[in-house]
Protein backbone atom coordinates (compact mmCIF):
# COMPACT_ATOMS: atom_id res chain seq x y z
CA UNK A 1 0.00 0.00 0.00
CA UNK A 2 1.24 3.44 -0.86
CA UNK A 3 0.58 5.22 2.42
CA UNK A 4 2.26 8.58 2.88
CA UNK A 5 1.66 9.87 6.38
CA UNK A 6 1.00 13.53 7.05
CA UNK A 7 2.50 14.97 10.19
CA UNK A 8 1.44 18.42 11.35
CA UNK A 9 4.25 20.03 13.33
CA UNK A 10 3.93 23.05 15.59
CA UNK A 11 7.35 24.62 16.03
CA UNK A 12 8.11 27.50 18.33
CA UNK A 13 9.63 30.52 16.69
CA UNK A 14 12.70 30.84 18.88
CA UNK A 15 14.26 27.38 19.14
CA UNK A 16 12.51 24.65 17.21
CA UNK A 17 11.72 26.59 14.05
CA UNK A 18 15.26 27.93 13.97
CA UNK A 19 16.48 24.37 14.46
CA UNK A 20 14.37 23.22 11.50
CA UNK A 21 15.73 26.15 9.54
CA UNK A 22 19.25 25.01 10.38
CA UNK A 23 18.42 21.53 9.08
CA UNK A 24 17.42 23.19 5.83
CA UNK A 25 20.40 25.50 5.49
CA UNK A 26 22.70 22.58 6.39
CA UNK A 27 21.07 20.68 3.50
CA UNK A 28 20.11 17.77 5.70
CA UNK A 29 17.69 15.44 4.00
CA UNK A 30 14.64 14.28 5.90
CA UNK A 31 11.22 12.82 5.21
CA UNK A 32 8.90 15.20 3.33
CA UNK A 33 5.84 14.16 5.37
CA UNK A 34 5.93 17.07 7.75
CA UNK A 35 3.80 20.23 7.50
CA UNK A 36 5.31 22.90 9.70
CA UNK A 37 3.26 25.59 11.41
CA UNK A 38 5.33 28.24 13.12
CA UNK A 39 4.02 29.62 16.36
CA UNK A 40 5.59 32.11 18.73
CA UNK A 41 5.87 29.72 21.67
CA UNK A 42 4.97 26.13 22.40
CA UNK A 43 2.94 27.60 25.27
CA UNK A 44 0.62 29.07 22.62
CA UNK A 45 -0.57 25.62 21.62
CA UNK A 46 -4.17 25.27 22.54
CA UNK A 47 -5.21 21.58 22.70
CA UNK A 48 -7.84 22.61 20.13
CA UNK A 49 -5.05 22.98 17.53
CA UNK A 50 -3.90 19.41 18.07
CA UNK A 51 -7.41 17.96 18.01
CA UNK A 52 -8.34 19.96 14.89
CA UNK A 53 -5.24 18.65 13.12
CA UNK A 54 -6.31 15.09 13.89
CA UNK A 55 -9.89 15.82 12.91
CA UNK A 56 -8.80 17.12 9.52
CA UNK A 57 -6.76 14.08 8.72
CA UNK A 58 -3.28 14.42 10.24
CA UNK A 59 -1.75 11.02 10.94
CA UNK A 60 0.51 12.50 13.58
CA UNK A 61 1.04 15.76 15.40
CA UNK A 62 4.48 16.89 16.49
CA UNK A 63 5.09 19.70 18.94
CA UNK A 64 8.57 21.15 19.34
CA UNK A 65 9.65 23.84 21.76
CA UNK A 66 12.73 25.14 23.54
CA UNK A 67 14.51 22.93 26.04
CA UNK A 68 13.32 23.28 29.64
CA UNK A 69 14.74 26.47 31.12
CA UNK A 70 15.35 27.97 27.65
CA UNK A 71 11.88 29.31 26.89
CA UNK A 72 11.98 32.79 25.38
CA UNK A 73 8.96 33.60 27.54
CA UNK A 74 10.27 31.95 30.70
CA UNK A 75 7.80 29.11 31.12
CA UNK A 76 5.73 28.61 27.97
CA UNK A 77 7.30 25.23 27.29
CA UNK A 78 6.37 23.98 30.77
CA UNK A 79 2.75 24.90 30.12
CA UNK A 80 3.03 23.09 26.82
CA UNK A 81 4.43 20.00 28.56
CA UNK A 82 1.52 19.88 31.01
CA UNK A 83 -1.07 20.30 28.28
CA UNK A 84 0.71 17.68 26.22
CA UNK A 85 0.56 15.20 29.10
CA UNK A 86 -3.15 15.87 29.57
CA UNK A 87 -3.75 15.51 25.84
CA UNK A 88 -1.87 12.21 25.82
CA UNK A 89 -4.12 10.87 28.55
CA UNK A 90 -7.18 12.15 26.71
CA UNK A 91 -6.32 10.75 23.27
CA UNK A 92 -5.45 7.40 24.82
CA UNK A 93 -8.98 7.32 26.27
CA UNK A 94 -10.31 8.16 22.80
CA UNK A 95 -8.57 5.14 21.31
CA UNK A 96 -5.83 7.10 19.56
CA UNK A 97 -2.29 5.70 19.75
CA UNK A 98 -0.12 7.86 22.01
CA UNK A 99 2.68 7.77 19.44
CA UNK A 100 0.57 9.91 17.12
CA UNK A 101 1.19 12.89 19.36
CA UNK A 102 4.79 13.66 20.20
CA UNK A 103 6.58 16.45 22.03
CA UNK A 104 10.30 17.06 21.67
CA UNK A 105 12.61 19.87 22.71
CA UNK A 106 14.72 21.17 19.83
CA UNK A 107 17.20 24.00 20.30
CA UNK A 108 18.24 26.39 17.54
CA UNK A 109 21.45 24.42 17.03
CA UNK A 110 19.83 21.01 16.78
CA UNK A 111 19.14 20.81 13.05
CA UNK A 112 20.47 17.25 12.92
CA UNK A 113 18.32 16.13 15.85
CA UNK A 114 15.30 17.71 14.15
CA UNK A 115 15.84 15.84 10.88
CA UNK A 116 16.29 12.57 12.78
CA UNK A 117 13.16 13.27 14.79
CA UNK A 118 11.10 13.81 11.64
CA UNK A 119 12.50 10.62 10.08
CA UNK A 120 11.77 8.59 13.19
CA UNK A 121 8.28 9.94 13.60
CA UNK A 122 7.50 9.29 9.92
CA UNK A 123 8.68 5.71 10.39
CA UNK A 124 6.45 5.34 13.45
CA UNK A 125 3.47 6.65 11.47
CA UNK A 126 4.21 4.19 8.67
CA UNK A 127 4.12 1.31 11.17
CA UNK A 128 0.92 2.60 12.79
CA UNK A 129 -0.81 3.09 9.44
CA UNK A 130 -3.29 5.81 8.49
CA UNK A 131 -5.22 7.57 11.25
CA UNK A 132 -8.86 6.54 11.44
CA UNK A 133 -10.03 9.72 13.15
CA UNK A 134 -11.25 11.55 10.05
CA UNK A 135 -13.11 8.56 8.64
CA UNK A 136 -14.75 7.83 12.01
CA UNK A 137 -16.36 11.27 11.83
CA UNK A 138 -17.89 10.59 8.43
CA UNK A 139 -20.96 8.75 9.67
CA UNK A 140 -22.90 7.27 6.77
CA UNK A 141 -26.40 8.04 8.07
CA UNK A 142 -25.81 11.78 8.50
CA UNK A 143 -28.26 14.03 6.55
Amino acid sequence: MNFRPTIVAFLCNWCAYTGADLAGTSRLKYAPNIRIIRIMCSGRIDPTFVLKAFQQGADGVLICGCHPGDCHYQEGNYKCLRRFKLLQKYIAQMGIEKERLQLEWISASEGKQFSELVNNMTKTMLTLGPSKIKSSLEVEYIK
Partner: protein, 328 residues
Protein backbone atom coordinates in the same frame (compact mmCIF):
# COMPACT_ATOMS: atom_id res chain seq x y z
CA UNK B 1 -44.18 43.42 26.18
CA UNK B 2 -45.28 40.78 28.70
CA UNK B 3 -46.66 37.60 27.26
CA UNK B 4 -50.16 37.96 28.69
CA UNK B 5 -50.86 41.24 26.88
CA UNK B 6 -50.69 39.57 23.49
CA UNK B 7 -54.21 38.73 22.55
CA UNK B 8 -54.82 40.14 19.10
CA UNK B 9 -52.00 38.30 17.33
CA UNK B 10 -52.79 34.95 15.72
CA UNK B 11 -51.57 32.14 17.94
CA UNK B 12 -48.25 30.56 17.16
CA UNK B 13 -47.93 26.85 16.61
CA UNK B 14 -45.47 25.19 18.94
CA UNK B 15 -43.99 21.71 18.78
CA UNK B 16 -41.84 20.08 21.45
CA UNK B 17 -40.19 16.78 20.66
CA UNK B 18 -37.76 14.47 22.42
CA UNK B 19 -35.09 12.41 20.75
CA UNK B 20 -32.66 10.47 22.94
CA UNK B 21 -33.57 12.37 26.10
CA UNK B 22 -34.45 11.75 29.72
CA UNK B 23 -37.57 13.90 29.68
CA UNK B 24 -36.02 16.62 31.84
CA UNK B 25 -36.13 19.16 29.01
CA UNK B 26 -39.88 18.64 28.55
CA UNK B 27 -40.27 19.02 32.31
CA UNK B 28 -38.25 22.26 32.17
CA UNK B 29 -41.02 23.64 29.94
CA UNK B 30 -43.56 22.64 32.58
CA UNK B 31 -41.27 24.21 35.20
CA UNK B 32 -42.28 27.62 33.89
CA UNK B 33 -45.17 27.06 36.34
CA UNK B 34 -47.96 29.62 35.95
CA UNK B 35 -46.08 31.20 33.04
CA UNK B 36 -47.00 28.07 31.11
CA UNK B 37 -50.50 29.52 30.93
CA UNK B 38 -49.03 32.57 29.18
CA UNK B 39 -47.16 30.30 26.81
CA UNK B 40 -50.28 28.41 25.83
CA UNK B 41 -52.14 31.71 25.59
CA UNK B 42 -49.67 32.82 22.94
CA UNK B 43 -49.01 29.48 21.29
CA UNK B 44 -50.90 26.30 20.59
CA UNK B 45 -48.88 23.18 21.20
CA UNK B 46 -49.51 21.08 18.09
CA UNK B 47 -47.09 18.26 18.90
CA UNK B 48 -45.70 17.38 22.31
CA UNK B 49 -45.43 13.64 23.00
CA UNK B 50 -44.94 14.01 26.76
CA UNK B 51 -48.18 15.96 27.16
CA UNK B 52 -50.39 15.23 24.16
CA UNK B 53 -51.64 12.18 22.31
CA UNK B 54 -50.71 12.69 18.68
CA UNK B 55 -49.23 10.32 16.13
CA UNK B 56 -46.18 10.87 13.96
CA UNK B 57 -48.40 10.53 10.91
CA UNK B 58 -50.41 13.58 12.00
CA UNK B 59 -47.22 15.61 12.06
CA UNK B 60 -46.21 14.30 8.64
CA UNK B 61 -49.59 15.38 7.30
CA UNK B 62 -49.15 18.98 8.47
CA UNK B 63 -48.28 21.47 5.72
CA UNK B 64 -44.58 22.34 5.40
CA UNK B 65 -43.44 25.33 7.46
CA UNK B 66 -46.70 25.30 9.37
CA UNK B 67 -45.14 25.00 12.85
CA UNK B 68 -43.75 28.33 14.00
CA UNK B 69 -41.38 27.03 16.64
CA UNK B 70 -40.06 23.56 17.41
CA UNK B 71 -38.06 22.83 20.51
CA UNK B 72 -36.18 19.62 19.76
CA UNK B 73 -34.62 18.12 22.86
CA UNK B 74 -32.56 14.97 23.07
CA UNK B 75 -29.80 13.65 20.87
CA UNK B 76 -30.14 11.58 17.72
CA UNK B 77 -29.50 7.97 18.66
CA UNK B 78 -31.64 5.93 16.29
CA UNK B 79 -33.51 6.08 13.00
CA UNK B 80 -36.72 7.23 14.73
CA UNK B 81 -34.97 10.28 16.19
CA UNK B 82 -33.44 11.04 12.82
CA UNK B 83 -36.73 10.67 10.95
CA UNK B 84 -38.57 12.97 13.36
CA UNK B 85 -35.73 15.51 13.17
CA UNK B 86 -36.11 15.58 9.40
CA UNK B 87 -39.91 15.77 9.53
CA UNK B 88 -39.86 18.57 12.10
CA UNK B 89 -37.23 20.47 10.13
CA UNK B 90 -39.52 20.42 7.12
CA UNK B 91 -42.61 21.41 9.08
CA UNK B 92 -41.03 24.16 11.21
CA UNK B 93 -40.12 27.75 10.56
CA UNK B 94 -37.72 27.85 13.52
CA UNK B 95 -36.04 24.69 14.78
CA UNK B 96 -34.30 25.04 18.13
CA UNK B 97 -31.90 22.46 19.54
CA UNK B 98 -33.18 22.61 23.10
CA UNK B 99 -30.97 21.38 25.90
CA UNK B 100 -27.51 19.85 26.13
CA UNK B 101 -28.35 16.61 24.28
CA UNK B 102 -29.73 18.25 21.14
CA UNK B 103 -26.98 20.88 21.31
CA UNK B 104 -23.87 18.71 21.78
CA UNK B 105 -25.00 15.17 22.57
CA UNK B 106 -25.42 15.48 26.31
CA UNK B 107 -25.31 12.59 28.74
CA UNK B 108 -26.55 10.01 26.15
CA UNK B 109 -23.54 11.15 24.10
CA UNK B 110 -21.22 9.45 26.60
CA UNK B 111 -22.24 6.27 24.75
CA UNK B 112 -19.80 7.42 22.05
CA UNK B 113 -17.08 5.95 24.27
CA UNK B 114 -18.44 2.59 23.11
CA UNK B 115 -19.58 1.00 19.88
CA UNK B 116 -23.06 -0.30 19.17
CA UNK B 117 -21.70 -3.85 19.48
CA UNK B 118 -20.21 -3.14 22.93
CA UNK B 119 -23.44 -1.52 24.12
CA UNK B 120 -25.58 -4.41 22.85
CA UNK B 121 -23.27 -7.02 24.31
CA UNK B 122 -23.43 -5.34 27.71
CA UNK B 123 -27.17 -4.72 27.63
CA UNK B 124 -28.36 -8.02 26.17
CA UNK B 125 -25.71 -10.49 27.41
CA UNK B 126 -23.39 -9.32 30.15
CA UNK B 127 -25.35 -7.10 32.50
CA UNK B 128 -25.94 -8.70 35.91
CA UNK B 129 -29.71 -8.61 35.59
CA UNK B 130 -29.84 -10.12 32.10
CA UNK B 131 -30.87 -13.71 31.54
CA UNK B 132 -30.53 -14.34 27.82
CA UNK B 133 -28.86 -17.71 27.16
CA UNK B 134 -29.85 -17.69 23.49
CA UNK B 135 -28.21 -14.27 23.13
CA UNK B 136 -31.24 -12.79 21.44
CA UNK B 137 -30.69 -9.27 20.17
CA UNK B 138 -33.31 -6.83 18.91
CA UNK B 139 -33.53 -6.70 15.13
CA UNK B 140 -35.00 -3.73 13.24
CA UNK B 141 -37.32 -5.93 11.17
CA UNK B 142 -39.00 -9.19 12.15
CA UNK B 143 -41.43 -11.36 10.22
CA UNK B 144 -44.39 -12.71 12.18
CA UNK B 145 -47.45 -14.52 10.77
CA UNK B 146 -49.42 -11.28 11.02
CA UNK B 147 -46.89 -9.28 8.99
CA UNK B 148 -43.64 -7.43 9.46
CA UNK B 149 -42.73 -5.82 12.78
CA UNK B 150 -40.36 -2.88 12.78
CA UNK B 151 -38.45 -1.05 15.48
CA UNK B 152 -36.01 1.84 14.97
CA UNK B 153 -32.44 1.11 13.91
CA UNK B 154 -29.94 1.78 16.70
CA UNK B 155 -27.02 3.85 15.35
CA UNK B 156 -23.39 3.25 16.20
CA UNK B 157 -23.02 6.93 17.17
CA UNK B 158 -24.99 9.42 19.20
CA UNK B 159 -25.26 12.61 17.15
CA UNK B 160 -26.15 16.18 18.08
CA UNK B 161 -29.14 17.55 16.17
CA UNK B 162 -27.06 19.74 13.85
CA UNK B 163 -25.25 16.72 12.42
CA UNK B 164 -28.57 15.50 11.05
CA UNK B 165 -30.56 18.61 10.10
CA UNK B 166 -30.11 22.36 9.83
CA UNK B 167 -30.60 24.01 13.23
CA UNK B 168 -31.64 27.65 13.67
CA UNK B 169 -30.84 28.22 17.34
CA UNK B 170 -29.38 26.44 20.31
CA UNK B 171 -30.59 26.71 23.89
CA UNK B 172 -28.04 24.93 26.09
CA UNK B 173 -28.48 23.41 29.54
CA UNK B 174 -29.30 20.16 31.25
CA UNK B 175 -32.05 21.16 31.38
CA UNK B 176 -32.19 24.79 30.18
CA UNK B 177 -33.25 27.18 32.90
CA UNK B 178 -36.96 27.82 32.53
CA UNK B 179 -36.44 31.58 32.93
CA UNK B 180 -34.19 31.54 29.85
CA UNK B 181 -36.84 29.66 27.88
CA UNK B 182 -39.43 32.30 28.73
CA UNK B 183 -37.07 35.05 27.57
CA UNK B 184 -36.44 33.34 24.25
CA UNK B 185 -40.09 32.45 23.79
CA UNK B 186 -41.18 36.04 24.57
CA UNK B 187 -38.71 37.35 21.98
CA UNK B 188 -40.16 35.06 19.31
CA UNK B 189 -43.79 35.76 20.23
CA UNK B 190 -43.36 39.54 20.36
CA UNK B 191 -41.56 39.52 17.02
CA UNK B 192 -38.37 41.01 18.47
CA UNK B 193 -35.34 41.02 16.16
CA UNK B 194 -33.93 37.51 16.29
CA UNK B 195 -30.20 36.85 16.49
CA UNK B 196 -28.35 35.44 13.47
CA UNK B 197 -29.05 31.83 12.57
CA UNK B 198 -26.87 29.38 14.43
CA UNK B 199 -26.66 31.50 17.59
CA UNK B 200 -26.72 30.08 21.06
CA UNK B 201 -29.63 31.85 22.77
CA UNK B 202 -30.88 31.89 26.32
CA UNK B 203 -27.31 32.00 27.65
CA UNK B 204 -24.41 34.41 28.03
CA UNK B 205 -21.35 34.88 25.85
CA UNK B 206 -18.92 34.62 28.75
CA UNK B 207 -18.03 31.78 31.05
CA UNK B 208 -19.58 30.70 34.29
CA UNK B 209 -16.50 32.02 36.17
CA UNK B 210 -17.60 35.54 35.23
CA UNK B 211 -20.83 34.95 37.10
CA UNK B 212 -19.47 32.91 39.98
CA UNK B 213 -19.34 34.62 43.36
CA UNK B 214 -16.71 32.39 44.96
CA UNK B 215 -13.41 34.02 45.95
CA UNK B 216 -10.85 33.81 43.20
CA UNK B 217 -7.19 34.81 43.04
CA UNK B 218 -4.75 34.77 40.14
CA UNK B 219 -2.63 32.24 41.90
CA UNK B 220 -4.18 28.99 40.78
CA UNK B 221 -1.57 26.35 41.59
CA UNK B 222 -2.60 22.78 42.18
CA UNK B 223 -0.43 19.94 43.50
CA UNK B 224 -3.19 17.35 43.48
CA UNK B 225 -6.70 17.20 42.11
CA UNK B 226 -9.46 15.93 44.34
CA UNK B 227 -12.88 14.54 43.76
CA UNK B 228 -15.48 16.46 45.68
CA UNK B 229 -15.88 13.85 48.42
CA UNK B 230 -12.16 13.80 49.13
CA UNK B 231 -11.97 17.30 50.58
CA UNK B 232 -13.89 19.56 52.93
CA UNK B 233 -15.18 22.38 50.72
CA UNK B 234 -14.82 25.73 52.52
CA UNK B 235 -17.93 26.97 50.64
CA UNK B 236 -16.31 30.25 49.57
CA UNK B 237 -13.06 29.65 47.66
CA UNK B 238 -13.01 28.87 43.93
CA UNK B 239 -13.32 25.10 43.48
CA UNK B 240 -10.32 24.97 41.16
CA UNK B 241 -8.16 26.69 43.74
CA UNK B 242 -9.17 23.99 46.18
CA UNK B 243 -8.10 21.38 43.63
CA UNK B 244 -11.58 20.25 42.65
CA UNK B 245 -12.17 20.25 38.92
CA UNK B 246 -14.93 22.69 38.08
CA UNK B 247 -15.89 23.15 34.43
CA UNK B 248 -16.59 26.86 34.98
CA UNK B 249 -13.71 28.20 32.83
CA UNK B 250 -14.85 26.17 29.81
CA UNK B 251 -18.60 26.58 30.26
CA UNK B 252 -20.99 29.22 29.04
CA UNK B 253 -22.74 31.22 31.70
CA UNK B 254 -26.48 31.69 31.86
CA UNK B 255 -27.59 29.04 34.30
CA UNK B 256 -27.08 31.34 37.29
CA UNK B 257 -24.17 29.17 38.49
CA UNK B 258 -26.70 27.05 40.29
CA UNK B 259 -24.45 24.06 40.86
CA UNK B 260 -21.71 26.15 42.48
CA UNK B 261 -24.31 28.04 44.53
CA UNK B 262 -25.32 24.60 45.76
CA UNK B 263 -21.68 23.87 46.62
CA UNK B 264 -21.10 21.48 43.76
CA UNK B 265 -18.59 22.21 40.99
CA UNK B 266 -19.86 23.12 37.52
CA UNK B 267 -20.33 20.06 35.32
CA UNK B 268 -20.40 21.95 32.04
CA UNK B 269 -23.95 21.38 30.83
CA UNK B 270 -24.20 24.79 29.14
CA UNK B 271 -21.48 23.85 26.66
CA UNK B 272 -18.48 25.93 25.63
CA UNK B 273 -18.52 29.74 25.70
CA UNK B 274 -18.74 31.80 22.51
CA UNK B 275 -15.78 31.46 20.12
CA UNK B 276 -14.81 28.07 21.52
CA UNK B 277 -15.82 24.84 19.86
CA UNK B 278 -14.45 22.23 22.20
CA UNK B 279 -14.96 22.58 25.95
CA UNK B 280 -12.59 19.75 26.82
CA UNK B 281 -9.72 21.28 24.89
CA UNK B 282 -10.31 24.56 26.72
CA UNK B 283 -10.39 22.74 30.01
CA UNK B 284 -7.11 20.94 29.28
CA UNK B 285 -5.64 24.29 28.39
CA UNK B 286 -6.81 25.85 31.64
CA UNK B 287 -5.72 22.91 33.80
CA UNK B 288 -2.35 22.85 32.06
CA UNK B 289 -1.56 26.27 33.48
CA UNK B 290 -2.70 25.28 36.96
CA UNK B 291 -0.62 22.15 37.47
CA UNK B 292 2.09 23.18 39.91
CA UNK B 293 5.03 21.14 38.63
CA UNK B 294 7.68 21.39 35.95
CA UNK B 295 9.26 17.95 36.08
CA UNK B 296 7.63 15.36 33.82
CA UNK B 297 7.30 12.77 36.63
CA UNK B 298 5.66 15.27 38.97
CA UNK B 299 3.28 16.39 36.23
CA UNK B 300 2.38 12.75 35.58
CA UNK B 301 1.63 12.26 39.25
CA UNK B 302 -0.70 15.26 39.38
CA UNK B 303 -2.45 14.24 36.16
CA UNK B 304 -2.86 10.78 37.64
CA UNK B 305 -5.28 12.37 40.13
CA UNK B 306 -7.61 13.36 37.27
CA UNK B 307 -9.21 9.97 36.98
CA UNK B 308 -11.22 10.26 33.77
CA UNK B 309 -10.39 13.45 31.85
CA UNK B 310 -12.34 12.51 28.72
CA UNK B 311 -15.52 11.69 30.62
CA UNK B 312 -15.16 14.65 32.94
CA UNK B 313 -14.33 17.33 30.38
CA UNK B 314 -16.79 16.09 27.77
CA UNK B 315 -19.60 14.99 30.07
CA UNK B 316 -22.23 16.86 28.04
CA UNK B 317 -20.44 17.41 24.76
CA UNK B 318 -18.66 14.33 23.45
CA UNK B 319 -20.61 13.90 20.16
CA UNK B 320 -20.37 17.61 19.43
CA UNK B 321 -16.67 17.83 20.26
CA UNK B 322 -13.83 17.83 17.75
CA UNK B 323 -13.11 14.11 17.94
CA UNK B 324 -16.77 13.17 18.45
CA UNK B 325 -16.32 9.60 19.55
CA UNK B 326 -13.86 7.00 20.72
CA UNK B 327 -12.13 5.21 17.85
CA UNK B 328 -13.10 1.61 17.49
Amino acid sequence: MPLDTITSKPKLKLAIYWGAACGGCCVSVLDTHEKLLDIVAAADPVFWPIAMDIKYKDVEDMPDQSIDLTLFNGAVRNSENKRMAQVLRKKSKILVAYGACAYMGGIPGLANFFTKEEIFRRAYEESESTLNPEKIRPVPEYEVPEGKLEIPVFFNDVLPLNKVVDVDYYIPGCPPQSERLIEVFTAIVTGAALPPKGSVVGALEKTNCDECKRKKTDNKKVKKFYRLWEIQDDKETCFLEQGVICMGPATRGGCGVRCVEGNSPCRGCYGPPAACSDPGAKMMSAIGTMIDADKPEEIDEIIESIVDPAGLFYRFSLPGSILGRKLS
